[in-house]
Structure formats: structure tokens, C-alpha cells
């Protein structure tokens, strides 16, 4: 976001400069109407399905709203109070937090490790990168179905492998803790390819001379990683961290297919809770309150992380 602001300022300056350099308007610049025509389709769709919903959702969160009868009444903060008073909301919140706090560090460590190793010159790089990226492009529904088979208690690949290593089989579906572990494994597997690509892009921006200089000073691989790679990669790391947190907090598809939030709600997450209230109970006001709480939470997480990085002097972000 800081980058955006900086870009906005730069663009503003450029516009001032170009306006000064262009004293008269060219004859073909009757722009207003044409611009409107060009923007019209996007504005129409965007207005109806993005801008209106953002505002209306906020309004809805203060209403008791029945979708089918259309009856609605203003209830003030009652929806928000009801959400906070619902023990299930807190369980769902805790589940989502556990999922996020486990998935994000694992995901980032794996992605960074792979990106650093892949940054060297080697044969088969494209193939390897494609392999790591494949889970990203595959639908979450298919991924969920495949992993249910992999986690099958009797014949699944996972338990068979554990057995081959002499380890006891794990019941992945009927025990809450192992169901969450299964979800975390699938979550990391499904998304670390995105972070790998982002880290690779960040790594390619670090000038080679830094490493050459460090090598001349006798720094080994680990020292180079700690003193050059990590600090110079900080802006990318922040970006990846924020995106990963936001993504993890909104996990839904794999939960729906893999565990259905079970057993006994042990893997039910925030968006699942929102989905149920909106589209199973059709309680649009309540569900909108949940949606806005999610929005506020993600916004707060983003701000806190940006601030934390800035205080550590990790460079301009």
C-alpha cells in the first residue's frame, strides 16, 4: 500500500510535468464522452457487484433481514452483539487462527527454502518449478477429494507410508486434532507455490555483486543468506506474509470438501460459518456482520504487520 501511495505521488508529479509541457490540447482530445463509453461496462458491473455490495453489506449488518419475505428492521448493533455472544463464533475464530498460525510459517519457510535453492543455476529448473506450482492451478475441490483418498484411514497413501516407516496409523477424519493437521498439510501443499514464485521474483532483484563481495570476505552460504538475502528480501517477505495471512483467514473450499468442518466443528472456519448463516439460515444481516468483522480483522492484521516491519527498520515497503 505504501508503494501504491508512492506511485500515486509519482504519477501526480508526472502529470503536472506533462501538463506543463503540453500547453495546448490536441484536436482529438474530446475525451470525456469516449472515456465514459469505454468505462461504462466495467462501471456497470463493478457498481452492481462490488461497490453497491460493499456499502450495502455494511447497512445490512445493522438490519434483521429476511431474504424471502423482504421484511427488514433496523436492529442497531444487535447482530454484532449476537456474533460475539455465540460460542460457536469463538470456536470458529480459534480454529481459523490455529490454521493460519500453523499454515503461514510452514508455507513461507518451505516457499523461501525452495526459492533460494531454485535460484542457483541448475538443470531441470523449469520442470521443478512447474511441479511445485501444480497444486496452485488445480481446483480446490479436486484437491480436497484427492487428499481425502490420501488420508483414508485404511488404504490411504499417508497411513500406508507411516506404516512402512513403522509408525502407527493416524485416524485423520474422526479426531479433531488430526483433522486440523490434515487440513494444514493440504493448505500448505496447495498454496506454497504462490509464495515460491513471489520469493523467486524478490530474489532475482538482489544484485549479484553483494554475494560476490560477501564471498570474497569469506561469508559462507548461511552467512550470505542471513546477512544479505533475508534483509534485502524483507519487502517481499512482508508482502508474502500479509497475503498469506489474508488467504489463510479466508480458507473455505478445501475445508468444505475435506472435512465439512468436522468432526464436531473442530475444523470449521470463519468463512464456513459465514456461508452457513447466509446461505443455509438465510440470515443476511447476521452473516453481513460476520463478513464485516472478517474484513476489519484482515485490515487490522495488515496494518499491524506493516507497522511491525517498519519499526524493525526493514526497509521501505
Amino acid at each position: 500500500m505504501m508503494a501504491e501511495v508512492a506511485a500515486a505521488e509519482a504519477q501526480g508529479l508526472r502529470r503536472v510535468a506533462s501538463a506543463a509541457a503540453r500547453p495546448r490540447r490536441a484536436p482529438w482530445r474530446r475525451d470525456g464522452r469516449t472515456a465514459f463509453l469505454l468505462l461504462a461496462p466495467t462501471l456497470a458491473v463493478f457498481g452492481v457487484f462490488v461497490l453497491f455490495p460493499i456499502v450495502f453489506s455494511f447497512y445490512l449488518s445493522f438490519q434483521q433481514w429476511n431474504l424471502f419475505s423482504g421484511a427488514h428492521t433496523f436492529v442497531g448493533g444487535a447482530n454484532y452483539r449476537a456474533v460475539f455472544a455465540d460460542p460457536e463464533f469463538w470456536q470458529v475464530f480459534r480454529n481459523t487462527a490455529v490454521y493460519t498460525l500453523a499454515t503461514v510459517p510452514l508455507n513461507m519457510a518451505l516457499a523461501l527454502g525452495v526459492a533460494v535453492l531454485l535460484a542457483r543455476r541448475m538443470r531441470g529448473k523449469r520442470l521443478l518449478r512447474a511441479a511445485f506450482f501444480t497444486p496452485v492451478v488445480v481446483s480446490s475441490v479436486a484437491a480436497g477429494v484427492i487428499w481425502r483418498w490420501v488420508f483414508d484411514p485404511n488404504l490411504g497413501l499417508f497411513n500406508v507410508s507411516l506404516g512402512a516407516l513403522g509408525l502407527p496409523a493416524v485416524d485423520w477424519t474422526s479426531n479433531g486434532t488430526s483433522a486440523m493437521a490434515a487440513l494444514i498439510i493440504v493448505g500448505v501443499w496447495k498454496t506454497f507455490g504462490v509464495n515460491m514464485v513471489l520469493f523467486s521474483a524478490g530474489l532475482s532483484g538482489i544484485p549479484r555483486q553483494y554475494y560476490e563481495a560477501a564471498a570474497m570476505d569469506g561469508a559462507r552460504a548461511w552467512g550470505q543468506f542471513r546477512h544479505i538475502t533475508l534483509p534485502l528480501l524483507a519487502p517481499t517477505t512482508l508482502f508474502v506474509l500479509v497475503l498469506s495471512m489474508i488467504g489463510s483467514f479466508q480458507v473455505f473450499d478445501i475445508v468444505f470438501v475435506l472435512t465439512r468442518g468436522g468432526p464436531l466443528g473442530a475444523t470449521k472456519v470463519l468463512v464456513y460459518y459465514l456461508y452457513e448463516h447466509a446461505f443455509k439460515y438465510f440470515d443476511m444481516g447476521y452473516a453481513s456482520a460476520v463478513a464485516y468483522l472478517l474484513f476489519a480483522l484482515l485490515f487490522a492484521i495488515t496494518l499491524v504487520q506493516i507497522r511491525a516491519f517498519r519499526n524493525r527498520g526493514a526497509g521501505a515497503v
Binding site: 445490512l60 501444480t134 481446483s139 497413501l157 479466508q250 478445501i254 468444505f256 474484513f295
Partner: protein, 281 residues
């Protein structure tokens, strides 16, 4: 051995270890897909045999036949392809028009509007989902193709991506065209778009994948089986036949194939698109 040779040997050893680690991880990453494909070609007896086999002893297409008999996957497929292709083409048109206006034209409120666009990318999709559903309900469009297609016909991300690309194109070509009497639309169509193939390809591939793989929105707005997308159909199939692994794996192969094929041929566009948007699950 001299110190120099020892060092060389150590470096070679390190390189071998790196390769082993990376290839091992890569195999582990794609193992679930291999397992899916191989399972889908095994007969029932072999699927439920213990210990499990990797390579099918006898290849059979029975699971595919069973899956297509149990659920109209062919129909689901056509639905998914129709929706994904329509949205992709629609977005290419709407996004390039809007992006051109933002990149090249002067009009009041342009920058404000543009940053409003960008700002909405921060709002989670789940905030807009409920009112979007209600709008479609009021319009009587729930459970129609319209519900699957209309909300996808504009994209802040796509507009942003194309605008950034258009800004890199030299202005001189356009200015020459204006002097020849071209209008804005003709310039966009005949000069800008042909030069923007890489960006358009990235957006197309990326949008197609997003729509083809989408699940939650289809789950919310579609009820009738005739309108099921592949992902929705597979999810329902998973509920109904929860342990028929052969058919389920065949269904999963079917549901992943188009995007996987596209990925094989357009790896670069996928990776660019995702690196640009940082899209997650």
C-alpha cells in the same frame, strides 16, 4: 587430497544434496496427482487391495464409465467451459476498454476512480458475496447462467494489469494514427490490442483458471443439476459416493484436466498472473 580438491568435492556433494532435496520435494508435491491418476485406472479389487499398489496391474476405464453414468459430468463440463470462456472473453473486452481509458485518456475524476478500483481489491470477496447474491435474487437470476457469468464481467485486477501494460507502449504510434483520423476505439482495437498480446494472454489464462476452478460462488447461486459446474458436480458426487474412490478419482481427473493442460502450455502466463495478484485458495 589437497585442500582445493577437498573443497571441490564438498561443493559437488552439496550440489548433489540440493538436487536430491529438490527432486524429492517435487515428487512429494505431485505424488497426490499421480496417485489420483493411477487409482482412476485400477479396478475395484486393486483399489481396495492391501498393501496398495502404485502401478495398476490391469488398466481399466471402468471408473470413468461409472462416474459418467452416475452423474452427467459431460453436461457439467459444458457448463463450466461455457461459463469460463464467456467470462474470460467478457473480461478481455471490458478490462481492455477500461484500462485504455485509465492509461491514455484525460477525464475528470480519473485518478480518484482508479484508486477506488484498486482499493476494492483489498475487500475480501466474502463481503460482496451476500449483497451480490441478493441483487441476483431481486433480478430473478438465481439459478441461471447469468448468475454465474454477470459478476465476473469486470475485474479490478484485470483492469489494473492491462493498464500497467498499456502505459509501457510508446505513444507515438497512437498519435500518428490519430493524425490519420483514427478514433479511440479503432486505435484500441487495431493498434493497442495487437501489441498487448502477452498481457492479454496472462489475463485470459488467469481468468479462465479462476472461473473454471471456482467453487463457492457456484455453490451459492446454483441449485439445479442442469447448471452444475464441474467443481460443484464433483463436490456433490463426493457426498453421494463418499468411498467410491475409483469413480471419485476419475471425476477428479476430469475436473483438473483442462487447467492442467493449459498450465503445461502456458506455464509462464500462469506464474506471471499469480505473481501479480498473489492469489490464494
Amino acid at each position: 587430497m589437497s585442500a582445493a580438491r577437498l573443497q571441490l568435492a564438498a561443493r559437488a556433494g552439496g550440489r548433489v544434496a540440493t538436487h536430491l532435496l529438490l527432486y524429492g520435494l517435487a515428487v512429494a508435491t505431485v505424488a497426490p496427482f499421480l496417485w489420483m491418476v493411477l487409482t482412476s485406472f485400477k479396478d475395484l479389487a486393486e483399489i481396495f487391495a492391501y498393501p496398495p499398489t502404485w502401478w495398476p496391474e490391469r488398466f481399466t476405464a471402468d471408473n470413468y464409465v461409472a462416474a459418467f453414468e452416475a452423474a452427467p459430468f459431460g453436461r457439467f463440463y459444458l457448463n463450466s467451459l461455457f461459463v469460463a470462456v464467456t467470462v474470460t472473453l467478457g473480461q478481455l473486452v471490458t478490462c481492455s476498454m477500461a484500462a485504455y481509458a485509465f492509461a491514455r485518456m484525460d477525464f475528470r475524476g480519473r485518478d480518484l476512480l482508479f484508486y477506488l478500483f484498486l482499493g476494492t481489491m483489498m475487500v475480501p470477496a466474502h463481503v460482496t458475496m451476500i449483497p451480490s447474491f441478493m441483487v441476483l435474487h431481486w433480478l430473478g437470476l438465481i439459478d441461471t447462467y447469468g448468475a454465474l457469468i454477470l459478476p465476473g464481467l469486470a475485474s479490478a485486477f484485470g483492469t489494473f494489469l492491462l493498464r500497467q501494460f498499456f502505459l509501457t507502449l510508446p505513444k507515438e504510434l497512437e498519435e500518428a494514427a490519430f493524425l490519420d483520423g483514427y478514433g479511440r476505439f479503432r486505435v484500441l482495437w487495431q493498434i493497442i490490442l495487437p501489441l498487448s498480446r502477452p498481457a492479454l494472454a496472462t489475463l485470459a489464462v488467469f481468468t479462465f483458471m479462476g472461473v473454471f476452478n471456482d467453487f463457492l460462488w457456484a455453490l451459492v447461486v446454483v441449485n439445479s443439476q442442469e447448471l452444475y459446474t464441474v467443481q460443484l458436480g464433483l463436490s456433490i458426487f463426493r457426498d453421494r459416493y463418499s468411498t467410491e474412490w475409483g469413480s471419485l478419482m476419475a471425476g477428479s481427473v476430469v475436473a483438473t484436466l483442462p487447467v492442467l493442460l493449459l498450465f503445461v502450455f502456458a506455464q509462464k502466463q500462469f506464474i506471471q498472473g499469480i505473481a501479480l495478484s498473489g492469489l490464494k485458495d
